[in-house]
């Protein structure tokens, strides 16, 4: 069952979008007003990226609800809701060749306002989100206080993973898409707030730190998710081709509306009537603090590359805690780059996180208990499953700005439906996919 993975699979951002659009308009006015004093070639840098990819899987496009003997098989209301984005989140592949998952394009404008100040706008259009409607995904001002100390304000990428900053830039990493087991542990990808970039040389090492704070709001289908009071920091040390990085972050999460549906409201009423009001709060993700931790290491020379990351999400009370990791090794041979990745994720508290009143409820009212379990599963969706995958791929660099990639993955779903957008009856899924990544 794979219906309302509330906290963790969210797409778009609405209120900040308005703010950010306003900022963009303001910037454009400002820029056009100063156009005469503006040397376009010197002061505006335009960069772009494009990925065209397609893939196919053995997972059927399965709307759910056709197998009454299977308790996990209920209608999937998410069938028509926006798909979650490529790069992190679930796979939207099915048994027909699909170009939506990995096809995207973006344009980035860097306006150099003066020696210390610049403004960045990035527009991204993705097949996996809103059918290629372009989104203003980044808009920030950055001010260089001194060399290696920069403060930024606006909307920017949440900097928690090794590849966070360049998630959409396929040419910057070996895979077709970063390993989902780690990169979907949190799906909020942009943050509206402030961050600071700092680097310092210590002997042969370079130490960097990036504290950040802000908020994010996303809408998916019938509900809106809020990430507030978000604070975090990442820090890394680098020496030549070796880099070690850790990040920690905390945020308060809420979802609206709550109760989610009329059925949900009725369930709460029924629990109260049965004297199990403790359970009514169970599964309520609102106003809980979530802690998020990641650690990563990467090493490369001109021939070999090695990269590994681990991520853990801890919820204070309800909801599954999730652990994910991957290991990637790649080898360069002229323009060719074969690579292999092992990845895994699991819910670490799936047995202990049910409320202790649940067995009592099971005795008092088995039907009600089943409804609570059903709701819980619905709320946590894919979060409650475990899976492992192996991905092998080969890349070919046509030039330093264009790479073609072929990849084959085997995903073993240990519980529930795995990482697929639609429920799948298979324990094992395969994905064959290709992409051409270009930067310009």
């Amino acid at each position: 069952m794979n219906t309302h993975p509330i906290q963790f699979n969210i797409t778009r951002n609405h209120i900040p979008t308005a703010l950010v659009t306003l900022l963009a308009i303001f910037l454009c006015i400002f820029l056009s007003a100063t156009a005469n004093a503006f040397n376009v070639e010197e002061q505006v840098q335009i960069s772009g990226f494009l990925s065209f990819g397609g893939g196919i899987s053995n997972a059927e496009a399965y709307p759910g609800g056709d197998d009454p003997s299977d308790p996990e098989d209920t209608p999937n209301p998410e069938k028509n809701t926006p798909k979650y984005t490529a790069g992190s989140g679930r796979f939207i592949f099915d048994d027909k060749l699909n170009f939506d998952q990995d096809t995207r394009a973006g344009l980035q404008f860097d306006f150099i306002i003066d020696e210390k100040t610049s403004a960045t706008l990035q527009f991204v259009s993705k097949g996996s989100v809103d059918n290629f409607d372009p989104d203003l995904s980044w808009a920030y001002l950055s001010y260089n206080i001194m060399p290696d100390l920069t403060i930024r304000a606006g909307r920017f990428r949440l900097p928690i993973y090794l590849a966070s900053d360049y998630l959409d830039i396929g040419i910057a990493y070996p895979w077709i898409r970063p390993p989902t087991e780690v990169y979907s542990t949190i799906n909020m990808s942009n943050l509206t707030g402030i961050d600071v970039l700092y680097s310092k040389q210590v002997g042969n090492w370079i130490w960097s730190a990036q504290p950040f704070m802000g908020a994010s709001e996303f809408e998916r289908g019938d509900f809106t998710s809020n990430f507030r009071d978000l604070y975090g920091i990442n820090s890394s040390i680098t020496n030549g081709g070796l880099s070690v990085r850790i990040a920690i972050m905390e945020y308060e999460f809420s979802v609206k509306p709550w109760p989610l549906t009329d059925d949900h409201a009725q369930l709460i009423q029924a629990l109260r009537a049965a004297g199990f009001s403790e359970l009514e709060e169970y599964g309520n993700p609102n106003d809980r603090t979530t802690t998020f931790l990641t650690a990563g290491i990467s090493w490369h020379n001109n021939v070999w590359g090695f990269q590994s990351e681990w991520a853990r999400r801890d919820n204070a009370e309800s909801g599954p805690d999730v652990d994910g990791y991957y290991l990637t090794t790649s080898y360069h041979w002229n323009a060719w780059q074969p690579h292999i990745t092992f990845a895994s994720r699991k819910a670490t508290n799936s047995s202990s996180r049910f409320h202790h009143d649940r067995p009592n409820l099971a005795v008092a009212s088995p039907a009600l208990e089943a409804a609570v379990v059903g709701l819980t599963n619905e709320l946590t969706g894919i979060e409650d499953n475990s899976s492992e995958s192996i991905t092998v791929g080969i890349n070919y660099s046509f030039s330093d700005a264009m790479i073609g990639k072929l990849e084959f993955s085997e995903i073993r779903n240990k519980r529930s439906t795995g990482l697929f957008e639609f429920a799948t009856k298979h324990d094992k899924n395969y994905i064959a996919s290709f992409v051409v990544d270009v930067i310009f």
């Binding site: 990226f49 060399p147 290696d148 959409d168």
Partner: protein, 152 residues
């Protein structure tokens, strides 16, 4: 004539695919000079310091003063030598490295100049500049040699 062009094209294509790279790296035995402005407080740097500055990993010299690297344009003999001897990077990994930083807002690649004299001029003019050239350096200009590498 036409068929010869096609033949050459196909041969090049095949060579490309098989990666029998053309002997394009043949330049005379020469010296690569890493240079900075005479007024710069930094007058000595390690290879790794130079790497870090050109790769945008750090935007300052070890003493904390801002560093402004100037690069030679792609395909120039000095850039080929610099990439091999100092950065230890291919053009491909250079490009993907900068794609990462550029699309992160964490840095922009060093400014590039086609002409070696332009690099000398840029370094002579800017106190915090660091660049590189191959061959003879005009002794009168306002630059100091940070490092000298004989190209094998």
């Amino acid at each position: 004539m036409k068929s010869k062009t096609v033949k050459t094209f196909i041969a090049t294509l095949i060579a490309q695919i098989l990666f029998i790279s053309a002997p394009s790296h043949s330049y005379a035995r020469d010296t690569l000079y890493i240079i900075t402005n005479t007024k710069n407080a930094t007058q000595s740097l390690s290879k790794q310091d130079i790497q870090n500055i050109f790769l945008g990993k750090i935007q300052s010299f070890p003493n904390g003063n801002p560093a402004k690297p100037v690069n030679s344009s792609k395909g120039s003999p000095s850039r080929i030598a610099f990439m091999e001897e100092i950065l230890k990077k291919t053009e491909r990994s250079w490009r993907s490295h900068w794609a990462r930083l550029l699309f992160t807002g964490k840095g922009k690649p060093p400014k590039e100049y086609q002409n070696p004299q332009d690099i000398i001029d840029a370094v002579a003019q800017k106190k915090q500049a660091i660049g590189y050239v191959i061959g003879n350096i005009d002794k009168n200009s306002n630059i100091t040699i940070l490092m000298k590498i004989t190209i094998p």
